[in-house]
Amino acid sequence: MATLYIPSMWRSACNGEPVVQVPTGSVLRVLQDVVEQYPLLRTFIFTATGEVHPALNFFINQEQIRYRGGLQAPVEAGDEIYIIPMITGGSILG
């Protein structure tokens, strides 16, 4: 399993949890899984047409996924995935 850190302002949509355990696979798979676990997160992560919100930035082990293959970037056991929305707040490790 990998660990997904939830932005502070989204935590009310996942019972206040700051981190969620997610399966390995790809970043996209991780996002799909977390909204299955916590459906209220869907509107934060996906647009109405099912695309990942373009204003979201994703990091694996502190590296932008852009350097790792984008949404298909592989997520391995023990990885830490961070989400930073554009212009949001509350540090992701807070």
Binding site: M9, P54, Q64, G89, G90, S91, I92, L93
Partner: protein, 628 residues
């Protein structure tokens, strides 16, 4: 006259001490709205080209918008306008607090000052009555002391706009302040106010701001309050301090004077010390809200002990905002929050732009770290990364123009010149304006904003960083530089309308996009549709640009700081390997605006479409340089 306006401007001649009340032209208001839109047109018409920004012919304007002081979300702003002595281009600076509302309640949509007073004065307005009063006893006071004095003198119900000692000493970093700690910080317009020996403006009034449909605007306000989204929650809880750590990590913040990165140089354990919960956990923290604001992004806190104890207001100071936390923190590798809180107080009291101060300090530190400046050059201060004591002391010297502070007090471009042009890559500015705390290597569209807008180096002029919820934009990859211009056009022009209308940008970012149109129509009685909103924004954007062209300034000839676009790219961190193709971004944007690719002069067809035929004739006499 459309509603939302008081219908009058007050013109003040400081040389002769005379006044003229002027009725606002309704068509002008419809076309340019207010704020810097109206300001740009008025100053273009009334100030000849080539005026010395610090001379008697220079006009300093303070203007509200039709939504200032109304229930619109969030109608709290006023704008200061003039020719910037820092960049020698169009200059403007936006501010919240309570002054804008108070000015309208006192009967005026704006104030225009020209001339220079023989001695220090301040303007006092009491619901339509106005007079210039002697400020000799106030000259030299810091902003806090000054406001306390003026409130004691004129009553606790007045609002004050003022300059501190920095403006009096004509520092090009000088800001114009309201409510002690709200700043119209950029463009060096505090120096213009100081050059006129105008210390303060004091207003009181209880006049009503009439609205076309008061019931409708109140209904709109209630409806949109139920739809708060976007940036609202962050701003409400932490203010912009909420993004400091995330922005350092993601690549949004400049780090180590734009030469470092937030993963290795300012990692999360450091960044968290000057971010979100750390900031609002300071003793005695209480939120602060501007006039009629439901967000309340400001705050006050107590820091009355320790080496960085605050000296004013019984140890109570304003919460530093993200720009301050980044430029005096992340950018200097300074994780000492108390030092930033104190330096924020020093800047507010003196009336100094914290963004620019951070840019200057970054330059100084990097020159020192690289052996280009010595301790002797810097009055014995060891200006190293993260040395919070030295950072605060140098900041103090700069605001007081003491010792080497006098060399640094006019910004990084002047400092670079005065030091013999050393450390060129460390002087991160465009046309003299130090860049703010959002990195175009993370948000490439910002490079076009910083470079092309009438006021260079500004993150609040619209662009991909700051978009309102529900504004329809094309899906683009931010690092695919072609195909972004249409989005950029919408973001920039809609932001122009929001600003010129007197709204706070944070309202624009926190409520659905159509709140802008709906509120403007409900208050004024006009009937803007979506296209007309963008056209009005384009007209305002263009008007500010025309001011520059008439001055002989072509933004396409501005300097490009290499660090802004990743030339060379960083090798570590979350924006490593990024080099922004600014040329491509600009080429496509110039096409969308229909500005010449070399001169940036708008086409006759576009000027006619915008109703700006006056410029078709005027431009025949303009002489602008072109890029080599």
């Amino acid at each position: 006259m459309a509603r939302g306006y008081m219908g009058e401007l007050l013109n003040i001649n400081l040389t002769t001490g005379t006044f003229e009340v002027e009725e606002l032209d309704e068509k002008l208001c419809h076309d340019y709205l207010g704020g810097y839109g109206l300001g740009a047109k008025l100053l273009y018409d009334r100030m000849p080209a080539g005026v010395d920004p610090l001379g008697p012919q220079a006009i300093l304007g303070i203007l509200t918008g039709p939504l200032t002081g109304t229930p619109a979300l969030i109608g709290s702003r006023f704008v200061v306008v003039g020719k910037s002595p820092k960049t020698h281009t169009w200059g403007d600076a936006n501010c919240g607090g309570y002054f804008g509302t108070a000015l309208k309640n006192a009967g005026y949509d704006g104030l225009l000052f020209k001339g220079i007073s023989a001695k220090p004065v301040y303007l006092y307005i009491d619901e339509g009555e106005y007079t210039l009063l002697d400020a000799s006893d106030l000259w030299g006071m810091n902003v806090t002391e000054l406001e306390d004095t003026l409130l004691a003198r004129h009553g606790q119900d007045v609002q004050v706009v003022s300059i501190g000692p920095a403006g009096e000493k004509v520092s090009l970093l000088a800001a114009i302040m309201n409510d002690k700690e709200r700043a119209a910080g950029r463009s060096g317009l505090g120096a213009v106010m100081g050059s006129k020996r105008l210390k303060a403006i004091v207003v009181r009034g209880g006049m009503t701001i009439l609205m076309a449909d008061p019931k409708k605007i109140n209904t709109i306000r209630r409806d949109y309050l139920r739809q708060k989204m976007g940036f609202f929650d962050t701003l409400h809880k932490w203010g912009t301090a909420g993004i400091t750590a995330d922005s350092a990590f993601s690549g949004d913040s400049p780090v180590k004077n734009w030469g470092g990165n937030g993963v290795t140089d300012f990692p999360m354990e450091k960044a968290k010390k000057i971010s979100d919960d750390a900031v609002i956990s300071v003793k005695g923290y209480k939120p602060y809200a501007c006039s009629a604001c439901v967000i309340g992004c400001g705050g006050r806190m107590r820091q009355d002990a320790g080496p960085f104890a605050l000296k004013l207001n019984d140890g109570i100071g304003h919460k530093p905002e993200y720009e301050t936390l980044c430029m005096l923190g992340t950018n200097l590798l300074n994780d000492d929050l108390p030092s930033i809180i104190l330096l924020n107080e020093i800047c507010n009291a003196a009336g100094i732009d914290t963004i620019s101060l951070g840019g200057v300090l970054g330059y100084v530190i990097e020159c020192y770290e690289n052996g280009l400046l010595t301790k002797q050059d810097l009055d014995g201060l060891e200006m190293t990364w993260g040395n919070s004591s030295a950072i605060v002391e140098m900041g103090r010297k700069i605001v007081e123009r003491e010792g080497v502070g006098d060399v640094l007090a006019d910004g990084v471009w002047k400092a670079w010149e005065r030091f013999g042009k050393i450390g060129t890559e460390y002087a991160v500015h465009i046309q003299g304006e130090e860049l703010p705390a959002h990195d175009p290597r993370f948000t490439p569209g910002l490079a076009a904003t910083y470079y092309l807008a009438a006021t260079p180096g500004r993150h609040t002029q619209g662009g991909e960083l700051l978009g309102p919820p529900e504004l329809e934009l094309d899906p683009v990859d931010k690092y695919h530089y072609s195909g972004q211009a249409n989005n950029h056009y919408k973001l920039v022009t809609s932001m122009e309308v929001s600003q010129a209308a007197g709204l706070c940008m944070f309202g624009y970012l926190s409520f659905p996009y159509h709140a802008l149109r709906d509120q403007l129509n409900a208050v004024t009685g006009w009937d803007f549709d979506d296209q007309a909103i963008l056209k009005a924004g384009e007209r305002i954007f263009t008007m500010r640009h025309l001011f520059n062209l008439r001055e002989g300034h072509n933004p396409l000839t501005r300097n490009v700081p290499g660090r802004m676009i990743g030339d060379p790219p960083l090798t570590e961190g979350n924006v490593k390997d990024v080099t922004v193709d600014l040329k491509l971004l600009l080429n496509e944007l110039l096409n969308v605006f229909d500005w010449d690719q070399s001169t940036s002069i708008p086409s006759n067809a576009r000027l006619h479409e915008l109703g700006m035929d006056f410029a078709i004739q005027d431009k025949l006499t303009w002489k602008v340089p072109v890029p080599v």
